[in-house]
Subunit: 344 residues, 2 copies
């Protein structure tokens, strides 16, 4: 079999039956879109962007349309993208006018290839009106901010705005993320988030921050690892969670135990006393070269949240495998899988 | 002697005689202000913030007043702050209305101690109008943006705006950064930057990004390391340079060789083909517990830029030691110093 692979998560949080069904549907679709794109010759970045775009267009996930509203009642999105072929990354934060924030990251990543004739350095991280400017310069249509607001997100906003008690404990951290491998054994990673409900205006969360919300480490000729994470954003930033996951998995052949130890350490990090209800979750994919055209792909997830919904699909599968993971009496749930494939 | 210590840099770049004299004066003052603050009972964070504020107020450094102007001709500042006592960090990006961006980071860091009665998570990273909002909420006076523009920065802006050729090669990466240790052996780190001249509106640079522009790693009861970096911003982001410096120094007792190897790797990173004129510089401070009240402080710097100006001062010194380091025929300049002290 070929190395084509996609893994997608819909966030760490407490899933109701309804929410779980919605997440499952969104993940299945995202996986199918990515695998179809890979089969049609798209590379890993194009495929992972298409997967995340479908999640952003889904009104039930906290990214793009249907995102949580901030304290002023509007949508402010963060997104990040990175790929292994050239180690470039791109991020946008506090974006209020993009239908698909991850698509802007794709353009921003590609624009880094072209050194300006004026000698100006192309940026890799833009926020707010800088994103809008960039979109206009690249003829990407800006989107009416009110169209990103759904009836449900507005109702939820009003509900909490009036009550304003124990929001964190009821919060749903349904940031989305995905990692994709193409037939050449290249990797791309993407994540997208509307952030916390009633968040401070201009708050940037980990989904826009390389090393925090997403990261790829290693080299394509030996071993490399990608991870994207979800949960309590400020805790993720303070622990550089995504790059820590990659490093610990690259340093260890015991993925299960190193992922478990690291996730537990983050959950018990001494700054979590400043977090109302600390919880984190991660997905990862590790690729090791076994020979010229053979690779070992190890992938998995870990979470300390009551629930996490994720799915994966290989290039030769007819449908995605979706996992609803629940915490029960454990303090960390970890699961690791692996398969061997051809690449190149 | 006590562990009180400050190290300050004024950026990696190509220093003219005039620029070097200006940087030396700014660094001497910043060191003196920090040491005086430490002697008057300030902790490491208060002292490092005062040091950086004096650099921000200096019109000759690229932070606060006198910062580079962006493509639209205004000042847009990034700053970051972190401390070892509780591992909290705070960042602001694209701030247009603060006289002293690092002071806003200090308030933002301290505000993370108070979980909102509404259950809302206090943010650790704010941008643009979110910073302005935060300042108003905390009764911090906003500053007229035009007051941050000096005659020199306006002249420089107009010069390059008209010419628009080979800007990078003439660019001065005079981001500033500082690391401070107080009598208790606690550490704080701060950095502040106006970013590249003619930068894209809303571009966020590494000085606002934990792990990229600044980082503290380790634990106060064993060994910990702080590093803040300067140079080609996008290269620093892609290599997570600050956290890489900390990790490599904590893992190694050969600070000189590990710092040299890492800096060379970053300079030769395969993404540097997307950087017009790649150059980086770093300062670091490492603190190791030798006994209950004894510490070993190792500090130093490395750069691949033509020049770097930095200075340091111990609590028992009467004046700062300022170093103008030049590259000459080497590809990396590295220097490491150490002293033993009492703390606590």
């Amino acid at each position: 079999m070929s190395s084509e692979f996609i893994i997608v998560h819909a966030g760490a949080g407490a899933y109701s039956n309804k929410k779980r069904t919605q997440a499952t549907t969104a993940i299945r679709l995202a996986c199918q879109i990515a695998v179809e794109a890979l089969k049609n010759g798209c590379d890993c970045m194009e495929a992972v962007v298409k997967a995340i775009m479908s999640m952003e267009d889904n009104p039930h996930t906290n990214c793009g349309t249907g995102s949580n509203l901030n304290q002023h009642g509007y949508v402010s999105c963060d997104a990040g993208l990175m790929r292994s072929t050239d180690n470039l990354c791109a991020s946008i934060g506090d974006c209020r006018v993009a239908k698909n924030p991850i698509q802007i990251c794709e353009k921003l990543l590609l624009s880094q290839h072209k050194l300006s004739p004026l000698g100006l350095q192309p940026p890799c991280f833009l926020v707010h009106d800088g994103v809008k400017d960039f979109m206009e310069q690249h003829a990407l249509p800006t989107y009416p901010p009110e169209k990103l607001i759904t009836e449900t997100s507005l109702r939820t906003y009003r509900h909490w705005k009036e009550r304003r008690v124990e929001i964190e404990k009821h919060m749903f951290s349904d940031t989305v993320g995905a990692i994709c491998i193409d037939r050449y054994g290249n990797m791309a990673i993407a994540c997208s988030s509307g952030g916390n409900i009633l968040k401070h205006q201009g708050r940037i969360g980990p989904s826009a921050l390389p090393g925090c919300g997403f990261w790829i480490e290693g080299s394509s000729d030996k071993s490399m690892c990608a991870s994207t994470v979800t949960g309590s954003g400020e805790l993720i930033i303070r622990t550089q969670f995504a790059s820590s996951v990659c490093q610990s998995l690259l340093d260890s052949s015991e993925e299960w135990s190193s992922l478990k130890e690291l996730t537990r350490n983050v959950q018990h990090h001494h700054t979590n006393k400043y977090v109302a209800d600390p919880m984190v979750g991660s997905i990862f994919t590790k690729l090791e070269r076994l020979g010229k055209a053979n690779v070992l792909v190890t992938f998995g997830y870990a979470h300390t949240s009551p629930g996490m919904v994720l799915g994966y699909m290989k290039g030769n599968s007819s449908k995605a495998t979706v996992i609803t993971s629940e915490l029960n009496n454990l303090d960390t749930v970890t699961n690791v899988f692996a398969f061997k494939a051809n690449s190149g």
